[in-house]
Amino acid sequence: MGESLHSLFGDYLAVLLGTVIGFFLVFTALVATRVLAPFSPEREKGTTYECGMLPLRRASTNIGVRFYLYAILFVLFDVEAVFLFPWMLSFVELGAAAYYQMLLFILVLGAGLAYAWKKGALQWR
């Protein structure tokens, strides 16, 4: 096993450990509250809070399409951001070509954004 891989593995073991610890933090708190807090199983308060009214209708229905459009935009630009990371480390070495390559990339995506913008997809109406 390569040395660098070894250290990578060690580093991310900490992340794994962190996940476990985080999990147990929440878990312990929940167990503690189970022990300390009163609990009455039979009860009305199960009803959904809606400003003192009984709920109008099941809540988890229809959201705006705009949420979805923003999500798409985000995914695309996220992808672009991911490409930026290797680029920013290497473009100085590679010289102007790599720079303009990325500029082109940004511009193409920017054109997409501009299109969406113009078409009103960014407008919340």
Partner: protein, 204 residues
Amino acid sequence: MAMTPSTGAPVEAPAAPADPGVAPLLPAEHPAEELALTPVEHRPGRALYKTLLPGVLQVPADLVLAMGRKSSLWPMTFGLACCAIEMIATYMAHYDLDRFGIVPWPSPRQSDVMIVAGTVTKKMAPAVKLLYEQMPNPKWVISMGACATNGGPYTRYDRVLQGVDKIVPVDVYVPGCPPRPEALIDALVSLQEKIMEERKALGA
């Protein structure tokens, strides 16, 4: 049976009274109303440590928990009428309930105290009840002002509930119309005392 006409989708208008000739009196039993006004049963619930821990260890546990509870009473923001103005004033700079660790939360799920500040009408009563039920235990109710206590100046109007204790159990009554902020602070202090006194029973 729905407790209120909470049909959000506005319903078809009920037919206007056909022959309004002689006004009938309020029927002794208006069925929906009767149901809406039945009191809430308070079920304090039971904490597991009350069963698990031996009695000796329960004493400090009770004490510590009660101290935490009394120092962090979060009321639900719930203003009804004129008294609510004084209640709000109590949160503000000159009286500052935050000194006591009292901060208002909008949702009943996160609140410990319901300060009923103002007249509870019969139309409002089901909502008050529901909100009370939605609060997690342990919870307390402060009846602020004459109206919440027994209907106050409006007792004699029959759309007004003669005291919020008709529908939810009240822990502290503050008289006054409206009680001044200091009176509300006094009530909260007495509620704190009450919590300390009754710490053994809480969560039992």
